[in-house]
Amino acid sequence: MEANLHDRAPGDEAAPGSRRHQIISGLQAYVIGLVLAVLLTATSFWAASTNLLWAPGIPIGLAVLAVAQMGIHLVFFLHITTGPDNTNNVLALAFGVLIVALVVAGSLWIMANLNANMMPSPELMNMQMQH
């Protein structure tokens, strides 16, 4: 009861009950997170260095693996969940993700557009971009 009266702080584990029980379930979460993160990291490094995969698809695959791994870290290491006691944390995260997406996608879009409009020809553009 007491534990559910308030929001949960980011980083707090979910498990109610005795301290011993909390520590065991906390340990489980970290171990699961570590195993998944290692698998995803290993897959990323393998995909980046192998010749077996279709080359143009690899960057997208790497991006997907990275996003998945960030999700694993958020859930199992930072204990950000979708529970009702975690709404504030998730909303702050969602706003952060929105700003990050705007900054990164916006910069890339605008700069690509400027390059396409400003440069007289691909050859010159290549020279220009190398300075």
């Binding site: 308030h6 702080a9 980011p10 301290r19 290491f77 006691d85 709404t87 952060g96």
Partner: protein, 210 residues
Amino acid sequence: MSAVAHAHGHGDHGVPPSTSADGPAPKRIIVAYGFWIFLLSDIIMFSALFATYAVLATATNGGPTGRQLFDYRNVAIETGALLASSFTCGMMALAVEAESRLWTYLGAAVTFALGAIFLALELHEFASMIAEGATPQRSAFLSAFFTLVGCHGLHVSIGLLWLVVMMVQIWAKGFRATILRRLACFSLFWHALDIIWVAVFTIVYLMGGR
């Protein structure tokens, strides 16, 4: 929503138990939430550096490219060290919860050692790149590379310093409420650094080194 409210005896106004009929949240939660907001703003700062890097990644000015400079094996060891240190930081947080000084010090020592290995490998990489003439002044690509990866390395250095300070505080003051709040913030900081590193090794090294 209302089912949750009923379950906790907060009446049937559809108000979840988290909204405060019970007064303000405990300081522990406010502090960690404030630090979470700081971490998100830090990640937004990193997003600007990532955008800069992505725009300038091909602007090598005839100098060395990522493909020539990056060493996958080195990056893989760095990644492993940082991931393992994130895990041991979690173990330290559990030891703090159990108020076991021995295990807390042990977790902190392993976390510090792994973080230091990461930092040493990164500095070694920077030093060998600079020795080859691939300095930040060489090209826009290298300026962006050193700013982004160096900024992450700076955060790791600050984290290591913070960890040492926290251990001294536990040694001097024990597991007080203030110390526990600071340790919770440190854990968040350290895990967030690992999240940023996932983006770094994917975007800078794996995509840039191909």
